[in-house]
């Protein structure tokens, strides 16, 4: 067991507001970790700092032995971090296949031409979207756009996959499919950090949960234990219920 991601004293301030305050945790290779907390607690900000979308005000992020905090997002992507976005971001003027090729062509694989097309189709099959490969990305339904985004992230062959509320907004059937998909990734040994609100999903897939509130880490424990932690209950439901 070796640590894949090590976050130490991570801090982000926007003007006078401290969105993330000295957060530290680490992820072991192959783990699926849930990053939880009420809205505005700083989860997505943490994810954005790991992927390089935001640069930290303080603290460090290391991937394996290497410090990645402060690098540009494209450099971090090439080191093996891939992500999806809270509000799904397809590339509307491209086809579904091209969306995935984008990640194959410029990511770690550097595939192009027929080879890239074949690999893209294989990735789309994994998420059950092969039949729509030549459709325009903007014609997809919401769940299919989410699938496409996941295929795009997986095509990068990431060491670490960041999922930002990937299951939000799905109906119960879609949710079941989504959870199964994440479980299959887990079986393949992909390390995943997911920001999520759907408790069933968290219980089903996460080995461990890191819980944040108002920018600070308030719990870091195996899933069942973390969810039962009185601090966590207070953070989610308020003092009256504690």
């Amino acid at each position: 067991m070796s640590e894949l991601l090590t976050i130490t004293g991570l801090t982000k301030r926007f003007g006078g507001l401290t969105a993330v305050n000295a957060v530290s945790f680490s992820i072991v290779r192959g783990e699926v970790i849930g990053l939880l907390g009420p809205n505005g607690s700083g989860k997505t900000t943490v994810l954005n700092m790991i992927s390089g979308h935001l640069s930290p005000t303080g603290g460090t992020i290391a991937l394996g032995e290497e410090t990645i905090s402060g690098l540009a997002p494209n450099r971090i992507a090439l080191k093996g971090v891939a992500r999806t976005f809270q509000l799904v971001r397809g590339l509307p003027s491209l086809t579904v296949r091209e969306n995935v090729v984008a990640s194959l062509a410029f990511g770690r694989r550097k595939l192009w031409g027929e080879e890239a097309d074949r690999e893209a189709l294989r990735r789309l099959e994994e998420v059950g979207l092969a039949g729509r490969a030549e459709h325009s990305a903007q014609d997809l339904t919401y769940i299919d756009q989410k699938r496409m985004e996941l295929a795009r992230a997986l095509a990068a062959d990431p060491e670490l996959l960041l999922l930002d509320e990937w299951l939000a907004g799905l109906n119960p059937t879609e949710l079941r499919t989504g959870i199964d998909l994440i479980l299959s990734l887990k079986e393949r040994g992909i390390t995943i950090l997911l920001v999520e609100h759907v408790m069933d999903a968290i219980r089903a897939v996460c080995n461990r949960c890191v819980v944040m509130n108002a920018g600070r880490k308030i719990a870091d424990a195996p899933t069942a234990q973390a969810l039962a932690d009185p601090h966590v209950v207070t953070a989610y439901l308020g003092d009256a219920h504690a």
């Binding site: 992927s51 979308h53 540009a72 494209n74 509307p92 003027s93 086809t95 984008a102 062509a105 410029f106």
Partner: protein, 317 residues
């Protein structure tokens, strides 16, 4: 490659070959007209190469055009001719990279403002250099190049520019540009170095523009900064590319030919009121496009992508 692509390439080569014979058919005035038209076709195509997909509107066309023309004027006696073009291209590329590194990270509006003033800055620097270092303002260019020679050089440059634009459309960098055009955040997270891609395209586009200036310079015989750095050139290039459609290969061509002829006619018949007409036409263009210029570029771009899905590559398979 499929039959359609081969046909397109054959057609392209035939067109260039046919155009090469034009000087033998038309008179001296015809050649002059063709030089001007071809110059703008290349300028507009090169402009669209960068500004079309990235949506960074550059008003600096004449800055690079002027750099090319002035390089030829300054070194016409000390450097042999073909090498002179290389030197000009090198200087243009150098300036483009410096400007690009400084400004391409900025929001689009700052880029527009900066490029707007760049021509004026370079003009003043050249003037300063000429007055203080050379001691004269204005230079004569005596190069043994005929108008036909200039025309053929421009034709070759046009062919190269179209070939590059076509190649970019089907290459990895073409996909990178489309991803950047759609969503820069996704682009960086896919591993694309967006500043690098933009810089490469800006450098390429500016180098071609510089060469247009360099090739056309011998036509003038006499050059001074206010001639070489005439802001109307930036303005015309922009209108032509926008009106023809900056998003597709032949768009700038379709804009450049009719507009060039119209402006020729205007400047011949209304030399004094020329810039007033120019301005009014341009304002009219902005107003005619119903949801704005940016939306126009984007919609046409998207529409084009969807009608001709996924470049020739799929069709080839």
């Amino acid at each position: 490659m499929n039959g359609k692509t081969i046909l397109a390439i054959a057609g392209f080569i035939a067109t260039i070959a046919a155009l090469a014979f034009v000087p033998f058919v038309v008179g001296p005035y015809g050649v002059t007209l063709m030089i001007g038209m071809l110059g703008y076709v290349v300028l507009a195509t090169a402009w669209a190469l960068f500004s079309g997909p990235t949506r960074y509107v550059s008003l600096a066309t004449v800055a690079f055009f002027g750099v090319g023309a002035y390089t030829v004027a300054v070194f016409s006696e000390s450097i042999p001719y073909p090498l002179l073009l290389l030197v000009a291209a090198g200087i243009g590329l150098g300036v483009a990279l410096v400007v690009g590194i400084a400004t391409l990270r900025l929001a689009g509006v700052y880029f527009v403002i900066f490029t707007f003033g760049l021509a004026e800055l370079i003009r003043q620097l050249v003037t300063w250099y000429e007055v203080n270092v050379t001691g004269t303002l204005g230079r004569y260019i005596f190069l043994p190049i005929t108008p036909e020679g200039i025309y053929w050089q421009l034709l070759a440059l046009a062919a190269i520019t179209f070939a590059i634009a076509w190649w970019i459309g089907r290459s990895r960098i073409g996909l990178a540009l489309r991803v950047i055009g759609d969503d820069e955040v996704v682009a960086v997270h896919c591993g694309i170095n967006i500043t690098g891609v933009k810089l490469a395209l800006f450098g390429l586009s500016c180098t071609i523009i510089t060469l247009v200036g360099a090739i056309q310079a011998p036509r003038w015989t006499y050059v001074e900064p206010s001639i070489a750095f005439n802001p109307t050139i930036s303005f015309l290039t922009l209108i032509m590319a926008l009106l023809g459609g900056a998003h597709r290969l032949t768009g700038p061509l379709l804009g450049a030919v009719p507009l060039f002829l119209m402006f020729e006619w205007l400047s011949a018949n209304f030399p004094n009121h020329y810039s007033i007409f120019l301005g009014l036409i341009f304002i009219a263009i902005v107003f005619v496009l119903p949801r704005g210029v940016l939306a126009f570029i984007e919609e046409r771009w998207t529409l084009w992508r969807r009608n001709e899905p996924v470049s020739g590559r799929t069709a080839d398979e």
